[in-house]
Structures are given as structure tokens and as C-alpha cells.
Symmetry: C2
Subunit: 338 residues, 2 copies
């Protein structure tokens, strides 16, 4: 079954993907950080029974992963694919993951909350992602009782998730705004209207790949649909600003830059992660603008996921030193773009 990210999405020149996450907890159990291992196992049992043995059409497409039984490399490669949180990868005991074969849906059991339903979709498609998240939510709720308060809504371990328990986010590729130095101010503006923007790869001034995640922060006193609509409205504005800024770049230089990046990606025999992110960002820009038409956007998105450290080591089947990783990264890049 091909993965969700090998699909072309709407507005994919700027919006790489969206994600909708719902936090849910079972009534009658403390939050995971206060649970005994026995209680954790009970929750795992209930949730996985509901999904795997339910009447849903997709039940058979889920696999159950005991987080205590997989390698650190495999777990961290799932972090890199945004399927689980770093904390969930770090401490596996009493934790399980239900993962849809195409990796568009992952259900973390006993992370910060009992249940974290996460749905990803390529491009700007919150409708699709929310629709699936909602269906899974309904399926689970028909099998168990969620901790819910008439006034507060869904109860969650962290108060910032109270209410809808929903966090929606979009992964935006905004190299032109970044190059124009516009990201800082954009981030400030966005934070004033209840949204958050942060770099996806790298930290602080070392943001790589010009990928930024924009997400809603407000979960209380607003419906899921309204929260997504707000978020989507802002994303569309950022998208248009990015596109305008792209068009203002000198075309000859832009063409030269993206083709050079493409050329080096197709040719290099050794490539660090930092260089990879810089080059693949340029390639993505070239593909998004139609300058390079021999590479599909899905291929670029797939490449970004495949070439991170843990995913590389997972592909290799074991730990690799940095030099060997750089060699393998270069090879995978060449083969993917060949």
C-alpha cells in the first residue's frame, strides 16, 4: 500500500501536508502519567480492540505496534514521519501505536493522553483529514466512554488541549518569504490571533528546508470546524504572499539556483543532512513553480521523509556513523531522483 505522502495534494507548491490531531481520554482512568502498567495495558486493549476488531471498513488496514518491542531507530524514524512524538519514541513501556498501512492515520495510546488520533493528508486538505479523524473518534466513542465535561468539553492532561482536544496544523514550504526575511514578523502576527508558527527542521536561526508548521492554539470555546476555518484562512493568506514573493525573484537567478540544487542532488556521493535540506528546499521551490517539470512533488515530499537520520538508519537496518549516513543519503537521493 503506497504511503499517504506519495499522493499529490491541493496547493502543494506551498502546503506540503496538513494534520488533524484529537486528544481523548477514557473515563474512569487517571491520565497516563499516573497510571499503573496494568491500567495502561487495559487502555491499550480497549482502544486496539475497538479499532482492530471493529466493523469499520479500515479496521483490517491497521497494524498494532507495541512501542516496547521496536528498536529506537524504528521509533525515531516514525518521529521523523510525524507519526509519533519524540517522547512516545523514547519511553515505550505501556504504550502502543495503531498505524494505518498508508501511514495517514496513527493512534498513539498512552502518550500524554490515553488516545491521540492523528490524521495526515497531502496538500491543503483539512476536510479529508478532519473527516477521517472524526470517523475514528466516533468509532472509538461507540466502544468506550470518554472523559467529557459539559462545560469544558473533552478532558485532557494538559489544559491547553481542553475542549475540542483538537490541534490542526499545516506544513508550509515558504522559501521565498524566508529569503525575504519575512518569517519573523509573520510568526509574530500569527501568534496574536491564536496560531503558532515554527520551523519543522532545525531550530532557531538554523531552520532548514524552509518548512514551517502553522497550527491552532485555541481548543476551548470554539468548534473544530471554526478552528480549522480560521487556520485555513490564514494559511491561504500566507500561501498567496509566498507565491507573490516567489514571482518577485529574478527569474534567471532563481532558475540557476534550483537547477544547481537539482544537479547536486542527482550527482553528489556524500551529503550531510543540513546540505540536503537546503538543496531539497530549492528543488521543491523549482518543482512548485514549474521550473523543473521532470520531478513530481510527491517525489520531493517522499525524499524529505526518507532522508532524515533515523529513517536512513531504519532503511539500512541498523545504526550508521555520520560518514556512512552521508553516503547512504546521497545514494538514496540519486536513486529517488533518477
Amino acid at each position: 500500500m503506497s504511503k499517504w505522502y506519495i499522493k499529490n495534494g491541493k496547493e502543494s507548491d506551498v502546503v506540503a501536508s496538513v494534520r488533524v490531531r484529537l486528544a481523548r481520554n477514557l473515563k474512569g482512568y487517571p491520565f497516563p502519567n499516573k497510571m499503573t502498567l496494568e491500567q495502561k495495558c487495559e487502555v491499550i486493549q480497549k482502544v486496539s480492540d475497538a479499532i482492530l476488531n471493529g466493523n469499520s471498513a479500515i479496521s483490517g488496514d491497521f497494524k498494532f505496534i507495541d512501542m516496547d518491542k521496536i528498536s529506537r531507530i524504528e521509533a525515531y524514524s516514525m518521529v521523523e514521519r510525524h507519526l509519533i512524538s519524540p517522547d512516545f519514541a523514547e519511553n515505550g513501556q505501556g504504550r502502543a501505536l495503531l498505524l494505518l498501512n498508508d501511514e495517514s492515520v496513527s493512534i498513539m495510546i498512552n502518550e500524554e493522553d490515553h488516545i491521540r488520533i492523528q490524521v495526515m493528508a497531502a496538500g491543503l486538505d483539512f476536510e479529508a483529514a478532519y473527516d477521517i479523524a472524526n470517523k475514528i473518534d466516533v468509532l472509538l466513542e461507540s466502544n468506550m466512554q470518554f472523559a467529557f465535561d459539559e462545560n469544558l468539553g473533552y478532558l485532557t492532561e494538559c489544559p491547553t488541549n481542553l475542549g475540542t482536544g483538537m490541534r490542526a496544523s499545516a506544513m508550509l514550504h515558504i522559501p521565498a518569504l524566508e529569503a525575504a526575511g519575512a518569517v519573523g514578523q509573520l510568526s509574530n502576527t500569527i501568534s496574536k490571533i491564536g496560531l503558532t508558527m515554527r520551523g519543522t527542521y532545525g531550530e532557531g536561526s538554523k531552520i532548514k528546508c524552509a518548512m514551517y508548521q502553522v497550527s491552532n492554539q485555541v481548543t476551548l470555546g470554539i468548534s473544530e470546524t471554526a478552528a480549522i476555518e480560521n487556520l485555513q484562512g490564514i494559511i491561504k493568506q500566507i500561501m498567496e504572499r509566498e507565491r507573490q514573493t516567489r514571482l518577485s525573484i529574478d527569474h534567471d537567478n532563481l532558475e540557476d539556483t534550483v537547477y544547481r540544487a537539482y544537479g547536486v542532488l542527482k550527482s553528489a556521493r556524500l551529503m550531510s543532512g543540513n546540505e540536503f535540506f537546503d538543496l531539497v528546499s530549492q528543488l521543491r521551490l523549482g518543482v512548485g513553480m514549474g521550473i523543473i517539470d521532470t520531478v513530481a512533488m510527491e517525489t520531493v515530499n517522499e525524499l524529505i521523509l526518507k532522508c532524515q537520520p533515523a529513517s536512513l538508519q531504519n532503511t539500512a537496518g541498523g545504526p550508521l556513523d555520520a560518514d556512512t549516513r552521508d553516503k547512504l543519503r546521497a545514494r538514496i537521493v540519486r536513486e529517488t531522483l533518477a
Copy 2:
């Protein structure tokens, strides 16, 4: 007729080409810097008659070029192809060139001496170059009387050419020795045994393309054959040192460097002359070492000649500003390597 440099030569991984030049003057005429225009025209007439109307098998393959009738761009593109000297390109009046169709033989008339026979050959093939130069010399001498002294040999305007009037040189590509910082000392050693070594492209610390010309300096008291043998012996030593040094470079890094250079050459849309020389030197190294086997050495040699400023403008049919030149250079490189 395809050009001489689109041929593969012996030892071409290190030796790009060789050149043999004979300086001759006609008896009964002053040297060119003291001649009247009328006398110059007489010399042009005599020499070109001998070549163009001679019984030689190659007479029909020569063309006559009045240096006063060609554009500066065309003249300088011939300097870049080593067919004529910069001074010969600069001042055309009373000067003519006889050029073999494949450009392996050029005969400058009224440069510093009345006649400068120049023969080039791909790779380390002094025998071929000297043989042709000698045949042309014999052909000319059968039609006119050269200024010759029993003791001094052929008389030339500059005393450094007295005797054989021969200057033999080889164009060596020695990127590994250059990177190892060994060129300076090599050049010193060579100068002590009557040879000269100098960068072909760029000057001083800005030598480009790692191409160095090694030539004999002694023309008096030594036969042509002995001079060539001396030179060839030293060239073979340099060649072996270069090859050894190449093998001592870390293979992974080397492979990465040459493939990156190849990738950028095939991809860039804008390319300065300096960058071109750096990259093409790496490409040449990769081809010479068999790391890159999809590009022929002849193609690399041709590329180096085609991509210099005057040759680019000659191809374009007129003067170009630097930006347009960089764009055209990038296009020609891509098309040549496609």
C-alpha cells in the same frame, strides 16, 4: 572536418595536448618590426603561395586569413584556441594566417618572425606534431631561402629562439599536484633544467583549471629531437607524480567532488568563467581517472576551448555583456554534456 582537439590522445588523463612551434625568417628581408607594409605583403605572398599552391597533400586543406579583415572577437577566439598570439590578434595589418581545417596547424606570417609554424596534437604525441612541423618546414624551404647561419642555426628576431627556432610545449592537467601545493616547487626545479612551467588560464595565485604549460627554453646547441626528448622525459615524470598523487586522495571525497562538479555543469543556468574552469578541472580529473565514464575526454577538451570569453562571443556572433555570456556559457556546457 572535425577539429584536432576532438581526438583522443595518448596519456590524455594528464597531457591535454602538445605543441611544436618553429620560427623561421626569409633571407633578404629585415625582421617584421623593421619591414615596410609592401615587404610584409611580399612575404605573405611567398609563404602562402608555397603552402596553398604547393604539391603537398594537405595544401587544399589550408585556408588563408588576412588578419586585418577579421573581427577582434574572431581573432581573440583564435588566441583562446592557441592558434595565434595575443599580439598577432591585436595588430592585424600586414599579417596573415594559414590555418589547416582541423586547426592542428597554424602558420602565422609576420608575427615576431616572418614565419611561425605551429602544430598541435592531442595527448602526449610530440612525434606526430614534430613530424608535421618538419614537413611544413621542408615544404617552405624548398620554395624560399631561410635566414640561416652555420654557427647560430636559424636566425630569429629574438635571440632566445636562435638555433632550432623550436619551442615545444605540453599542456598538463595536474589538479592533484596543485591541490597538494606541489606546483611551486615543481616549477622551480624545472626552471633549473632549461624548461619553463606556467599556468595556462588565469595568473599568479589565480591559476584556473589546473592546466600548466611546460616548454623547452633552450634552442641553441641542441637538436630538435634531443630537446623534445628532454622535455618528454620530464613530462613523463610529472605525469607519474600527478597520477600517484591522484591515487592518494580519499576516494569517497574525490568521487563526491567530481560528480558534484559534473552535476553543476549539467544543471547551472548561469556560470562565470572562473567557476567554469574550477568545475571543468574537476570533471576532467573524474574523466581522467575513470570515475566518470559517460563523458569522453575529447568532449572535456572541446568544452574548455568553447567556453572562453571570445569563443563564446564568436559563437554568439557579436559582443556580449558578462551576464549574457554567463548564460550562454551555461547553455553551451549543458548542451555539450547532454
